[in-house]
């Protein structure tokens, strides 16, 4: 196997994993701190992508559109927290699942009413639409490289926020012991609203940057939501570090599985079987990973709560 192929797949996995991390980070904090299952998290990712596409259409500039979309999505996230989600903190997980599932349906339809059923067109900025030569003879999409850069930057910012600031300290306190945090005078209510805003903003970043690679369409949030849940369960609920490790693991395992499993299989099995089984096994791989992690570490890799 040529090393350039390995490197390219590694970059692909990294790029995908970092975007998953942006989604998972907000999810894991909300989950860890508020003990709240928010299925509508993926819908915010969709809203972020739609807003980006809209602002690109209005302004004609991707780099102006992204911050606006992030801001807009964060506002929508906070609005959602203030109106609906706040009512659900004290309810059991099942009620939260039902209510946030209802939100998915509602947001999907509202998006359909505003933007129509057809996928929107969102292209990478012109200057990044070509390849760059990262190693002699190895071209790689400039846009994907940019995504990796943005992902690393945001991840770094997030770690700084969580580990070095007062708000971050509150968040960590809340994740490991909510009652204690409340007793110590952490302003829980505004903190939760803010947290939702940040989580929604992170979703929007992922939506904005994945939009041109994937598609801006209704339902785009749901399939990736499941992956984000897989990530935070592998990483350990409430842990940002866990989310990062889990996201990179899932990104790389998924990409590697798609790329190499069919090749590997074709060397040990008849081509017909390999062609059939390869894609299936590749799809299963991350779930297998999660089941294995949970089997050996039922609280995930980095449990936040003791």
């Amino acid at each position: 196997m040529p090393p350039s192929l390995l490197l390219e797949q590694l970059l692909n996995g990294l790029q995908f994993g970092l975007m998953l991390f942006l989604l998972a980070a907000g999810l894991t904090l909300v989950f860890g701190i508020m003990d709240m299952i928010n299925l509508a998290h993926g819908s915010l990712y969709m809203v972020g992508a739609y807003l980006t596409a809209t602002f690109v259409g209005l302004l004609g500039n991707f780099w102006l559109a992204v911050p606006l979309a992030v801001l807009g999505t964060a506002l929508i996230g906070m609005l959602l927290e203030l109106t609906v989600l706040r009512q659900l903190y004290r309810r059991d997980h099942l009620s939260q699942v039902l209510a946030t599932f209802a939100l998915i349906l509602i947001i999907n339809e509202v998006v359909r009413i505003i933007w129509g059923s057809q996928p929107l067109l969102l292209s990478a900025p012109e200057e990044l639409s070509g390849p760059v030569e990262i190693l002699p003879g190895l071209n790689y999409s400039a846009y994907r490289l940019t995504i990796i850069g943005v992902g690393l930057l945001v991840a770094g910012l997030l770690f700084w926020l969580v580990n070095r600031t007062r708000v971050g300290m509150w968040l960590r306190a809340g994740a490991s012991n909510r009652e204690m945090a409340q007793a110590m005078g952490v302003p829980i209510r505004p903190l939760f609203t803010l947290l939702f805003g940040v989580g929604a903003g992170l979703c929007a970043i992922a939506g904005a940057f994945l939009g041109p690679i994937l598609a801006v369409q209704i339902g785009m949030g749901e399939s990736i939501l499941i992956l984000a849940f897989v990530v935070i369960v592998i990483g350990g609920i409430g842990s940002i570090k866990g989310a990062l490790v889990g996201a990179l693991l899932v990104g790389i395992v998924d990409t590697a599985g798609r790329a190499f499993l069919p090749l590997l299989l074709s060397q040990v099995a008849p081509p017909e079987v390999a062609a059939n089984l390869g894609p299936a096994l590749a799809s299963i791989l991350i779930y297998l990973l999660m089941a294995a992690v949970l089997f050996f570490k039922p609280q995930g890799l980095f449990p936040a709560r003791t």
Binding site: H93, E109, I237, Y287, G300
Partner: protein, 303 residues
């Protein structure tokens, strides 16, 4: 509770002749579908409502039942009874395997690991090209010897199976087993301290629910004459969960009410507007916020 129940039963028994006289066969089909979904939702309610096990992978057994029916028909098994037996047996076996592993975890981790297993089943099934892959598989209706499985026969068959299963569940829940199962949901460590082998109770309930869901899946395959990979997808698990929560978690009629309500709401709204999902979403949200005990809780007083 007796009187309304009897009336509903009478109505259901009398519906097909009325429907065919008035050209309402479509609604007979709708009722068949609701009864099948009610069976699946009730089976989920056993573990989710009475057992406190939030399984997010119930579609695996539902879909497996449907696929077993379709695959057996394709492979030349035409006896409905054999198909039923194999499908229920396989679903139970799958539930045993999955449950044995998943029941080691708790809480959110349980939710996610059941989901993971269901996803694996989904991808495995769609990888078999000879069984239709992503396209699904056609499933002709089998022979039952005693009767021909027409639409009307299927209607009565579904009604009989649903009634039988509900009776069975009713006995089960009020018997020693059911009481312990609910006690475990209420307080697992206490149940363990009293000397109940918690794991075994949970696993057995899990297997029973899987088997019933498998049976519902077979009926679904008979109904649509088609085994769709969507029956195995996580959205299907979510849909069943919605029905149970909507109807009332751990309320005996929760699964039935939820399946009926959700199907009817979807049907009515679909006719009114293409944005029917907005309506469904708003109704679900209203139920959570204003009727936390589900529909069944609306006319039942606090215990």
């Amino acid at each position: 509770m007796r009187w309304p129940l009897l009336l509903v039963l009478l109505f259901l028994l009398a519906f097909p002749p009325i429907a065919s006289a008035m050209g309402l066969e479509f609604y007979q089909g709708l009722l068949t579908k609701i009864m099948i979904l009610a069976l699946a939702a009730s089976s989920l309610n056993l573990i989710l409502g009475y057992g406190g096990m939030v399984s997010f992978g119930h579609a695996a057994y539902f879909g497996l039942g449907a696929y077993t029916a379709a695959i057996l028909m394709r492979e030349g098994v035409s006896s409905g009874w054999v198909i039923w037996a194999v499908a229920v047996g396989l679903s139970a076996l799958l539930a045993l395997l999955i449950g044995a592993i998943c029941l080691r975890t708790r809480g959110v981790y349980f939710i996610m690991i059941t989901l993971a297993f269901a996803q694996m089943i989904y991808y495995l099934v769609v990888s078999f090209k000879q069984y239709g892959g992503e396209d699904g598989l056609r499933a002709r209706r089998p022979e039952f010897g005693l009767f021909e499985l027409t639409d009307t026969a299927l209607y009565y068959l579904s009604l009989a199976v649903l009634a039988g299963a509900l009776y069975l569940l009713h006995r089960l829940i009020n018997a020693r087993f059911g009481r312990v199962l609910q006690a475990i949901r209420e307080n697992e460590s206490r149940a363990l301290a009293l000397g109940y082998p918690v794991y075994r109770f949970q696993l057995l309930a899990f297997v029973l629910a899987g088997a019933l869901a498998g049976l519902a899946g077979v009926l679904m395959a008979h109904y649509t004459q088609y085994a769709s990979p969507n029956l195995l997808a996580w959205q299907q698990s979510g849909h069943l969960m919605m029905m149970v929560i909507l109807g009332g978690v751990g309320q005996f009629w929760g699964g039935v009410l939820g399946a009926a309500a959700l199907s009817i709401v979807e049907e009515v709204l679909q006719d009114l507007t293409i944005h029917w999902q907005l309506g469904v979403g708003l109704i679900l949200l209203a139920v959570v916020l204003f009727a936390p005990r589900g529909l069944a809780g609306l006319w039942r007083r606090e215990p």
